[in-house]
Amino acid sequence: MCASVKYNIRGPALIPRMKTKHRIYYITLFSIVLLGLIATGMFQFWPHSIESSNDWNVEKRSVRDVPVVRLPADSPIPERGDLSCRMHTCFDVYRCGFNPKNKIKVYIYALKKYVDDFGVPVSNTISREYNELLTAISDSDYYTDDISRACLFVPSIDVLNQNTLRIKETAQALAQLSRWDRGTNHLLFNMLPGGPPDYNTALDVPRDRALLAGGGFSTWTYRQGYDVSIPVYSPLSAEVDLPEKGPGPRRYFLLSSQVGLHPEYREDVEALQVKHGESVLVLDKCTNLSEGVLSVRKRCHKHQVFDYPQVLQEATFCVVLRGARLGQAVLSDVLQAGCVPVVIADSYILPFSEVLDWKRASVVVPEEKMSDVYSILQSIPQRQIEEMQRQARWFWEAYFQSIKAIALATLQIINDRIYPYAAISYEEWNDPPAVKWGSVSNPLFLPLIPPQSQGFTAIVLTYDRVESLFRVITEVSKVPSLSKLLVVWNNQNKNPPEDSLWPKIRVPLKVVRTAENKLSNRFFPYDEIETEAVLAIDDDIIMLTSDELQFGYEVWREFPDRLVGYPGRLHLWDHEMNKWKYESEWTNEVSMVLTGAAFYHKYFNYLYTYKMPGDIKNWVDAHMNCEDIAMNFLVANVTGKAVIKVTPRKKFKCPECTAIDGLSLDQTHMVERSECINKFASVFGTMPLKVVEHRADPVLYKDDFPEKLKSFPNIGSL
């Protein structure tokens, strides 16, 4: 490095001092060497780039350079589409057998240019949208370049618009695809089917068993559960940015923005305008636009000019009428504008109707009822209209706004059919993100009171307090509904006492040894738990009476989806510190129960062990604290419900541990617990705990009633 710098410094001085003759000689020599070097360099890199363009850098090619395939006039033509095709008859699911993770794999054929015997192209090679569509598939998790492992095949022959292709020759092109096999497991995308004069509602290209993702199916051509109905993509989606407009009343109640309506329909909508005046707006093509104005982006009413699609945002409802084809691109524009589409196209299969609930986003009116449209719409309550406006916009954002969205939704639908047990739920397809966030789907939603006969399993977490543990076991075994006792031995350095030393009780007693001393072992879904109800109990809780525990179990039966515990605790917002605070004072409210003794459904053990969000589980094990707060958070978060505190009990007093109940320890404890709440609230991204003002007591608790007639006379005090 230093040497070369020196040379560079001295270099300029060197040459002027030489004789002219030598100088020319040296310069020539230098130039030759330099040229040689450059040439070598070129040689070094040039072949490399040629080589790579054959290899992995295929991408930088022109569409015009793709291989040409000549289709002889007599090459085979597939059968016409088979109307009786269903997934179980025409689709070979075994081809999807190699696909892991419940995801189908999709292969895309290489792009070719097809010409007939005379060298005339069969169609335009590929449209912008179809290229986008194939790019989207290729970039997705569905894609595979291994034709032998693919479950679904997508030809690169562009049939989006039937008008641009020659039907017979396109069919021949399909038939010579390497894995065509009567079109089995092949997927074609078409948005504009049919052609004049009678405009078929499905692609006219004979395609045998191939699946068709079509934009404009009618009930006669749509093979329910086989084809996929897709939207007609509106190029305006990409061109125009319509910011979302909040729901609520808009200037026009009903708007018709389509041009080229059939005169009969136009008469009908104009009649609506005459009848209802200002609240209905009927637009048409502009006839007197000056040169250079893009006519697609303008609409006119008499001499008034409106910007399209912006005008759609001024209306609550927008008519989407059948044109020559059932599928109309205007549907996409209307949804984008958050205008509720009023679909008047008998027998039209709405896009993605297999999974999307169009009742929530649109109004479908039979053509016959067109004159009643206004009164039908007026009968819809305002609240429902606002829901529909929101829903319409959400459908556009999720499934209409780009070719990519359309392609991925189509593949997801097919994927859901092949792996129905892993299918996306109705809610996931249809609920807008705001609803998904705010709503709770309780995993134990069935209102069911489990039978008392099943009883509960008590799980005692213990380390080495054997004496206290034995007392707990003896006490708990007196509870009538106890069906099994499980001791979780959390001490790896010491063996549990010998079998003969354990208290003799009337139910099975099992000891589980753990591999590590972790608090979360208490909430592990042990195979030994055979009942739905679990009682978690510490090895020092001896003050709870048998009546109290039995009553706790009976309360759990009435609320099997909740945590049912004894001492209650509360979380509070500390306005000074701007964070959550843990509260164990005797308040009028509770939002948590301690799991030192609590009943809950064993499903929550599974959730705690395998589905706890973030690093909470490790955090609890590391800090050896707050496993109960974590459980309270978890249950409240999945069920959306509050805990049930039973009986007056306010704290667990254990005679042995009064000594350490000192004030300073208490304060650190409170600080730690508050920290847990703040930590968990940030991991959950919300505060799931619910505050209530009630607790559960036996019906006749503290009533003036003979004690001996009460079911649970011995309910302990604080």
Binding site: V33, L37, R64, Q454, A696
Partner: protein, 639 residues
């Protein structure tokens, strides 16, 4: 100097040459050797250089300017809702159904179907006023084949209920009639027009029906994962330990250690494999193993959800003939209603569309059942509805106590009494409206449009409550908006001696009903009471006023499948509990209704929906030995 210079130049030159030779050599070497196979990155779809120049699939202007098409006539071969059903006949009353009388002797199922329609709110006796004409077709047993009915009109607005598939030769074309049948084939089924039914066995109960067999939410351990239907009526179970098959169909043909159980014995398994056609046993076993492999991939959460959903669907739509038929009619009514049909949530989550009337609302938040799924909360205010029965005394003290609650939005006085309306009422902080009722007990549960809140506090003029009691009870109701929250309770029991249900208002350790003379509940139950209960039951309540409590409690329990909730009630008044509304003024004794009443209602429901509870919800510090100053609801404890 010169030589030094020359030397250095030569040095530089030779170095350059060396470099050149080396580099060139390498390149030649690379050409000579085949390229090493590099780790293959997936070859995606190419990024074309000229992608931006590609034409759009539709030229601007092409989309909107397609040649327009005239309206099309209904397609000949098939029907859809828009083209083959005339909804204009259904205006006004909604769906009214006329059933063609049976021509000859009819089967048991047939009779049950007729009964379930005739008892429903859909039924009409006039074919002219009906919007749907129902034809029960072609009973195989009787051998009678229906002839063309009178009002046929090419089958328009007709529903043909086929109990036994193709048991009769078709004597006439179905035309535009809808068909409701079990297991329709995908080729003949017209989606959105025909209705698919479950198969109805002869023994299927008319109403009520057995509740689901599920006694606990999650699958038990040690229970077989899959049971498969066998020929000759049996089940074979396959455990989760059976060898799973790969998806390519290569399975060992080992029937495994499963055991065959009798058909009648319901299989104790998590999943049951039911196949449409009956393939050979061997291939079925292969199929089952593949299914098993798939099922094992399902998460416990999914299995839990599916199990519960089967129970909900069974109980809401399948368990009796009445439910199946009413579901069919409800489906058709939803088609008629269009935008005011049940949203999907109402169909698919408890209590189901038969119990969540879309005539009440189409917004789930308006019902008491869906707050969790909607992420909404019950309103923070209630309306007090005070019924003034025979006594005719304006309940001024009660009005003051209730109006004192911070949650009270309005007070409605339902004057159901022969005396004239008093002209003056007390001044209250909240609006007070007097409704002049029509002297019937069932009036108390009429959905008055003047009720503007979701929560109703139903009161009798002679009830006595303190503001504290009202406040606490309302806060509890907000946690359980679908249940009734009451102060006074009673319970039902099975009376062996009389072989029927009994009823007691005595204080016991458990209860299953709360008295509606002082109870919070959702206003939706007024709509349900008035519009979904059979008229006979409402008449029963009017004739035996003590029955109305039982009826309301039955209704709510049938919807929620849960017991009501009891909250504390002042002690001294509990002994001197006020009268049951409507009863004669015979003294301060709680009067138990006629046991006939509970048995009649139970018969009409077809089952006993009441559930018992053993708990009472008290304030957190209720009767605790702590300072009264700490307690929010301290007046609840006053002796």
């Amino acid at each position: 100097m010169q030589s030094w210079r020359r030397k250095s130049v030569w040095l530089a030159l030779s170095a350059s040459w060396l470099l050149l030779v080396l580099l060139g050599g390498f390149s030649l070497l690379r050409l000579a050797l085949p390229p090493r196979p590099r780790p293959r990155a997936p070859q995606g779809w190419p990024r074309w250089l000229d992608a931006d120049l590609l034409q759009s699939f539709s030229q601007p202007g092409e989309l909107p300017e397609d040649a327009a098409q005239p309206p099309r006539a209904p397609h000949g071969g098939s029907c859809n809702w828009g083209s083959c059903f005339d909804t204009s006949k259904c205006r006004g009353d909604g769906l009214k159904v006329f059933v063609y009388p049976a021509a000859g002797p009819i089967s048991e199922t047939h009779r049950k179907i007729l009964a379930s329609i005739e008892d429903s709110r859909f039924h009409t006796f006039s074919p002219a006023g009906a919007c749907l004409l129902l034809l029960l077709s072609l009973d195989a047993q009787t051998g009678e084949c229906s002839s063309m009915p009178l009002q046929w009109n090419r089958g328009r607005n007709h529903l043909v209920l086929r109990l036994h598939p193709a048991s009769c030769p078709r004597t006439f074309q179905l035309g535009q009639a809808m068909v409701a049948e079990a297991s329709p084939t995908v080729d003949s089924f017209r989606a959105g027009f025909d209705v698919a039914l479950p198969f109805l066995p002869e023994a299927h109960p008319l109403r009520g029906g057995a509740p689901g067999q599920l006694r606990q939410h999650s699958p038990q351990r040690g229970v077989a994962l899959l049971a498969l239907e066998e020929e000759r009526g049996g089940w074979r179970t396959a455990g989760s330990n059976s060898s799973a098959c790969p998806w390519d169909g290569r399975c060992e043909q080992d029937p495994g250690p499963g055991q065959t159980q009798r058909w009648e014995m319901l299989p104790n398994a998590t999943f049951c494999l039911i196949s449409g056609h009956r393939p050979q046993a061997a291939s079925r076993f292969l199929q089952a193993l593949q299914v098993l492999a798939a099922l094992q991939e399902m998460s416990p959460a999914q299995v839990l959800a599916l199990r519960q959903q089967t129970q909900f669907l069974w109980d809401a739509y399948f368990s009796s003939v009445e439910k199946v038929i009413h579901t069919t009619l409800e489906v058709i009514q939803d088609r008629i209603f269009g935008t005011s049909a049940h949203p999907s949530l109402l169909w698919n989550s408890p209590p189901g569309a038969l119990l969540a009337l879309s005539t009440f609302s189409t917004s789930p938040q308006d019902f008491p059942f869906y707050h969790l799924q909607q992420g909404s909360r019950p309103e923070g205010r209630f309306s007090a509805l005070i019924w003034v029965g025979a006594s005719g005394q304006p309940p001024l003290k009660l009005i003051q106590a209730v109006a004192g609650s911070q949650h009270c939005a309005q007070i409605l006085v339902l004057w159901s009494n022969e005396r004239p309306l008093p002209s003056r009422w007390t001044e209250t902080a909240v609006p007070l409206t007097v409704i002049d009722g029509c002297r019937k007990v069932s009036d108390r549960f009429f959905p008055y449009s003047t009720i503007r809140t979701d929560a109703i506090l139903s009161l009798d003029a002679r009830s006595s409550l303190s503001t504290s009691e009202v406040d606490f009870a309302f806060v509890v109701w907000q946690s359980f908006p679908e249940r009734m929250v009451g102060f006074l309770t009673s319970s039902h029991f099975w009376d062996e001696a009389h072989g029927g249900w009994g009823y007691t208002a005595e204080r016991t350790n458990e209860f299953s009903m709360v008295l509606t003379m002082a109870a919070f509940y959702h206003r939706y139950y007024h709509t349900l009471f008035t519009h979904s209960l059979p008229k006979a039951l409402r008449t029963l309540a009017d004739e035996a006023p003590t029955c109305v409590d039982v009826l309301m409690n039955f209704l709510v329990a049938a919807v929620t499948k849960l017991p009501p909730i009891k909250v504390p009630y002042g002690k001294q008044r509990q002994e001197a509990a006020p009268l049951v509304p409507g009863g004669p003024d015979t003294g301060p004794k709680l009067q138990a209704p006629d046991p006939n009443c509970i048995n009649q209602i139970a018969a009409a429901f077809g089952h006993m929906p009441l559930r018992s509870s053993r708990l009472r919800l008290d304030p957190v510090l209720f009767k605790d030995p702590v300072s009264v100053q700490r307690k929010k609801y301290r007046s609840l404890e006053k002796p």
